[in-house]
């Protein structure tokens, strides 16, 4: 809400500086967007009168003006503006002056523009005649006929006078942020009510009484309301209307409020709208067939051309203003081209009506037409304002000599809005706020807001003016008291009682995983929860795979963000691609985030959400096993042992020969006793070259995705001490000759099984392929550690077990000791 302080003073006294005014209004609930000083950024701009105009000797498009600026001699100024004429009063920027706006056609400059005398095509020009724009006014407030050319003043002004002073331009323009619960503050009177309550001043209402009225409005116009979507309809009539320019004071206030002056009738309706917050429409009575106004809903498919010369297609839910034959306005949204006020309009009907907020909202949305009026109706307006606003329009037209007011008003108001009374307890208010203030003080605050307080003792029966539609329950009164008492004056205390802070186990595990990944040098990334449905195509996910069970967004910003992600890997690849394209030689990153699966059984149910973790890396030192090492250490840290890496050749994301499913064995209680269950924790591998290419990653890269829910379920962060070994260990190194497709885990499984409880460790330390090994075979070197907890092992003991290990290898896997 833009408030001109100069205008606000019509309704209440403001005895403080603009800065203090804003500060205290903020603290009583009117938050500040901006505060600007108007009319103070012009220096040495004066009123001038053009006495004589001559052609420029050397330029067709320039003229030479002689101006009376109140000095002894006339001032010569050259201008190219086409609209100057002899006798016109104009703003003159003298030599050495400063104007706030940019020169015509140039970009705005901080601190304005300095004007000096000079020569234009050889003729001396001692300054400049200014346009609205050059004096700092926004294009959208400049009257249409003044847009191209010099600002021509209407009426006479003292020549040589300071321009800003002469036109009363000096003002403070404040833009307040109005919250949706306070539509009453979208008006000058509403803001004045707030100011009066804040500063303890009186609220003065505008003058609504006409000095002379003749005849009766009801004889001019017949109003029928046929839909409950119109709560009230007030019509007044003004005859002998002269449509002309508004007086400057009226134009200036509109301009300062950010509106463009049009003509006296439209300007008055806009002025009163800003005063009361009530939208007003004026019809030319001659365009109303039968001088009738019928408020009713439209017919489906009916067509109507609005003031903006656009044809609109209506439907049966849209409320319309019709005359005896045709629609003339979309109620509360926009008038029709067919009933517009024209220059020859003589008699007007002034409509001050109250239309249903939801109806206006829906209509405006359907038509794609948002107007000042519709915006106000949508937020809700007090129907009791209609009569005062209509009277005020008449009074102002009378005041500016715009026409003769016809007596009486037509007022259709079947169910008048009655003020509501709310019970509020003094004790409750003090209890909620943590203060102890007496009833009289509270009553004082409420009365300053024009609320009536009755009752006695603890009970206050508070009746708010009907403009305050937000006052409904006791808590609303608590807020009114609190904000006028001042939130800053409330004490500062700490709540009583103790609470143990905690968080879920899942969160603990997530935090631990994050810390662990960072300790291993991976950076955490965060990517959007929504992705493109194409992301799964990019990573070669099968057509019928679960990763395509997307939760779809009905109104996404774009296809790229139109479904909720089912896996994190595509975004990890995107991030790797982005970093690669920015010439980062290596990167190592992870993300922990929610994934979403549509509930196929019940689309009305919430989707299934679960945490996943993605890991991604590339760089000269990275390979499948650096990634695997990270995952192993992470799972170790989370206490997950017995993890297997099972070759996977089918999953599209990865290189078919370099991909593993990560599976953990985990003890479960079944009916017939404990059993081992395999739980899949995720998948990892070298990214398939086609996928890497899709994401623009020009080197081998590696990724993994863990299902964090399973990780959390298996995680075991309990630590149990086991004693350090007391007796020495014996190691036996063996080199085995195996077929190329023999895997380390198969060999290890056999060794573990045969090694008995004295086998404490197996370590692969070399794999050799080459000259000394026959084609299709490889040599695998393991170091086996034997130790007993209670004695020093003898050579014989170890040899016995070790021999069995070698036998088992040969027997079960056909793997033999390599001849050295």
């Amino acid at each position: 809400m833009i408030v001109s302080l100069e205008w606000l003073k019509d309704y209440t006294d403001v005895n403080v500086s603009p800065e203090e005014f804003c500060d205290r209004m903020i603290m009583s609930g009117s938050n500040l967007e901006t505060m600007e000083k108007a009319g103070e950024d012009m220096q040495k701009v004066v009123v001038g009168k053009i006495v004589k105009i001559e052609k420029h000797p050397d330029a067709d498009k320039l003229v030479v003006c002689q101006l009376d600026v109140g000095q002894e001699d006339l001032l010569q100024i050259v201008t190219g503006a086409p609209n100057v004429f002899e006798g016109a009063y104009v703003p003159v920027a003298l030599h050495g002056s400063r104007i706030p706006g940019p020169l015509h056609g140039q970009p705005k400059q901080e601190g304005g523009t300095k004007i000096t005398k000079g020569k234009l095509r050889g003729v001396v020009s001692n300054g400049m005649l200014c346009s609205f724009g050059e004096l700092g006014f926004d294009d959208k407030v400049v009257p249409v006929n003044q847009r191209d050319g010099i600002w021509i003043l209407s009426g006479e002004y003292p020549v040589g006078a300071d321009f800003a002073e002469a036109l009363n331009l000096k003002d403070t323009i404040i833009d307040f942020e109005i919250t949706p619960n306070r539509p009453d503050c979208l008006s000058m009177i509403g803001m004045a009510r707030e100011a009066a309550a804040t500063f303890g001043t009186k609220l003065k209402y505008p003058d609504t009484k006409c000095i002379s009225e003749e005849e009766r409005a009801a004889d001019y116009v017949d109003v029928q309301v046929k839909s409950p979507l119109c709560r009230r309809y007030v019509a007044r009539v003004v005859k002998d209307v002269k449509v002309e320019e508004s007086p400057w004071w009226l134009q200036r206030r509109l301009i300062h409020a950010g509106m463009r002056p049009i003509n006296n009738i439209v300007d008055v309706t806009n002025f009163v709208m800003l005063e009361y917050g009530q939208p007003i429409h004026a019809f030319d009575i001659e365009s109303l067939a039968g001088h009738k106004i019928i408020v009713d809903t439209a017919k489906d498919g009916e067509k109507f051309v609005t003031l903006d010369e656009t044809e609109r297609i209506l439907d049966k839910d849209m409320l319309m203003i019709n005359d005896g034959e045709k629609p003339v306005a979309v109620a509360g949204v926009m008038g029709g081209l067919n009933s517009e006020i024209k220059e020859d309009t003589r008699t007007i009907v002034i409509e001050c009506a109250n239309f249903d907020a939801n109806s206006v909202r829906t209509t405006s949305k359907k038509l794609g037409l948002r107007t000042e009026a519709s915006g106000r109706f949508e937020k809700g307006i007090d129907p009791n304002l209609c009569s005062d606003a209509a009277d005020r329009v008449c009074r102002l037209i009378e005041l500016i000599g715009g026409g003769k007011v016809v007596g009486g008003r037509v007022d259709i108001y079947p169910q008048p809005e009655a003020p509501k009374t709310v019970r509020a307890r003094v004790s409750r208010i003090n209890h909620v706020l943590g203060i102890d203030i007496p009833r009289e003080q509270m009553v004082g605050y409420l009365e300053s807001l024009e609320m009536k307080v009755e009752g006695s003792g603890d009970d206050m029966y508070v009746t708010a003016p009907t403009v305050r539609q937000d006052i409904e329950i006791e808590e609303d009164i608590v807020e009114e008291v609190a904000r006028l008492y001042g939130y800053d004056n409330l004490p500062v205390t700490i709540p009583k009682g103790n609470n143990e802070a905690s968080q879920s186990y899942e969160r603990d595990i997530k935090d631990l995983a994050r810390d662990t990944m960072c300790a291993m040098g991976a950076n955490e990334i965060q990517t959007y929860s929504f992705v493109s449905p194409k992301s799964v195509d990019n990573v070669r996910i099968d057509e019928d795979s679960w990763e395509r069970a997307f939760v779809k967004i009905l109104n996404p910003l774009g296809e790229d963000t139109s479904v909720m992600r089912t896996i994190l890997t595509p975004q990890m690849l995107e991030v790797m691609g982005r970093n690669y394209s920015r010439n980062l030689e290596a990167m190592k990153a992870f993300e922990i985030g929610n994934t979403f699966m549509a509930n196929m059984m019940d689309p009305k149910a919430l989707p299934y959400e679960s945490d996943n973790m993605s890991i991604g890396l590339y760089g000269p030192r990275e390979n499948f096993f650096t990634l695997k090492g990270m995952i192993e250490e992470l799972l170790n840290k989370l206490g997950i042992r017995n993890v297997k890496y099972v070759p996977e050749t089918e999953y599209g994301v990865y290189h078919p020969g370099r991909c593993a499913r990560i599976v953990a064995a985990h003890k479960v209680q079944l009916e017939n006793g404990p059993a081992d269950e395999e739980v899949e924790l995720g998948i990892m591998g070298e990214v398939h070259p086609d996928v890497a290419e899709k994401y623009g990653i020009g080197v081998r890269c590696y990724a993994a995705e863990l299902m964090f829910e399973n990780v959390t379920e298996l995680a075991d962060t309990e630590k149990v001490y086991s004693p350090l070994p007391k007796y020495p260990a014996m190691t036996r190194d063996i080199a085995l000759l195996a077929d190329e497709d023999m895997t380390v885990d198969r060999i290890e499984d056999v060794i573990w099984e045969a090694g008995t409880e004295i086998l404490k460790g197996i370590k692969l330390f070399d794999i050799y392929r080459g000259k000394q090994v026959q084609e299709g075979k490889k040599s695998m070197a393991f170091s086996l550690t034997y130790r007993a907890a209670d004695r020093t092992l003898t050579d014989e003991e170890v040899q016995a077990v070790h021999g069995k290990v070698l036998d088992a290898l040969k027997e079960k896997l056909g793997v033999t000791l390599r001849d050295m």
């Binding site: 609930g29 306070r182 609190a482 009905l554 929610n594």
Partner: protein, 340 residues
């Protein structure tokens, strides 16, 4: 024989003085004291001497042996120390060469900020709780007293999955879940992701994070709200920041407020960060609206509460001076590593 001993001693002395390596000194030891060494032979041949002479010669020979051993020891020590010096000289490094990297990873600045906020609220006895990102319209709007025509419900503001399900626009539905599942006293906070239909630009992101808070108990007052949030601000932004509570409006609190903190960049004098006002808006808060408490079946006469919510990105951007929110979701490693 005396002559011979003297000669051995002299010769050993000379050769050890000339010795430039451990091997040369070792050669001397072998030649003199070895199994077939000169002195060993003399001692061995001592048996042929008369007992008197034997005693005298024995003493002399042992003396020479002791002298040679001592000289050997000294020579070895000298040579060793020389060798050390040479080794140290040869192995000298340029200690100003860069270290070999052991790189720690970095958490995302949004995570870091959430962790800092969490630490503060945990220290005040708040329990961390979470809720789903895809929520019901009921939990996100209806239960939070945002009527059927509340503008935030608009399709231009909120992402919908269907008529009843949406991407939560705020973490406040966690309040509803908490109120429906717990009995007072309640003291929780909830960090999480939220979504609104904002086209990404320097200050807008369709996805962002909030931290929500809720306290419900007997006798909770607006003064308590001020106390908790003022303490939060001081722990988060520095003990010298001041707070200001301004009246505001939210459907789910009444009275409602916004909290500003005095600008922690300029101390309140006015700068670019606070746009010259000296204050920075940090969060929205208020006393829980009775309609919200009623959703959880809570007796509004007996219990009161307060709630608050803050934007994590906004706080992170202010704290770290990040001027474009999109940087947070680009995940350039060079950006993230700045928060190590």
């Amino acid at each position: 024989m005396q002559e011979r001993l003297k000669q051995i001693l002299e010769e050993s002395k000379k050769r050890l003085q000339e010795a430039s390596s451990v091997q040369e000194a070792e050669d001397v030891r072998v030649k003199v004291l070895g199994k077939k060494g000169q002195l060993t032979e003399i001692l061995r041949s001592m048996g042929q001497l008369a007992p008197e002479e034997r005693k005298e010669m024995g003493q002399a020979a042992n003396q020479v042996r002791a002298d040679v051993e001592k000289m050997l020891e000294e020579t070895f020590a000298q040579l060793k120390s020389k060798a050390r010096e040479a080794k140290f000289k040869a192995e000298k490094i340029d200690v100003t060469e860069p270290g070999i990297v052991h790189k720690l990873g970095t958490k995302h600045p949004v995570t870091i900020t959430i962790e800092e906020i969490s630490r503060v609220f945990k220290s005040m006895g708040f329990t961390l709780t979470e809720g789903p990102e895809v929520e019901t319209v009921f939990n996100n709007f209806d239960a939070l007293n945002a009527g059927p025509n509340h503008p935030a419900r608009d399709w231009t503001d909120t992402f919908y999955v269907n008529d009843d399900i949406l991407l939560r626009t705020q973490t406040s539905p966690v309040q509803v879940r908490t109120l429906m599942s717990q009995k007072p006293p309640i003291r929780v906070f909830a960090p999480g992701r939220c979504f609104r239909c904002d086209t990404p630009d320097a200050t807008h992101s369709p996805m962002f994070h909030q931290v929500e808070g809720l306290v419900v108990d007997e006798g909770i007052t607006m003064a308590d709200l001020k106390g908790v949030l003022d303490s939060f601000a001081k722990q988060m932004f520095g003990s010298d920041v001041r707070t200001k509570f301004r009246p505001h409006h939210f459907p789910f609190t009444e009275p409602s407020a916004e909290m500003d903190v005095s600008c922690f960049k300029c101390g309140g004098k006015g700068c670019r960060v606070c746009k010259g006002s000296g204050w920075i808006e940090i969060l929205g808060c208020g006393m829980v609206h009775p309609n919200v408490l009623k959703v959880g079946g809570i007796d509004t006469e007996k219990y009161t509460g307060f709630a608050f919510g803050m934007g994590v990105e906004r706080i992170a951007m202010l704290k770290y001076g990040i001027d474009d929110i999109r940087l947070l979701y680009e995940n350039d490693m060079r950006f993230i590593e700045q928060f190590k």
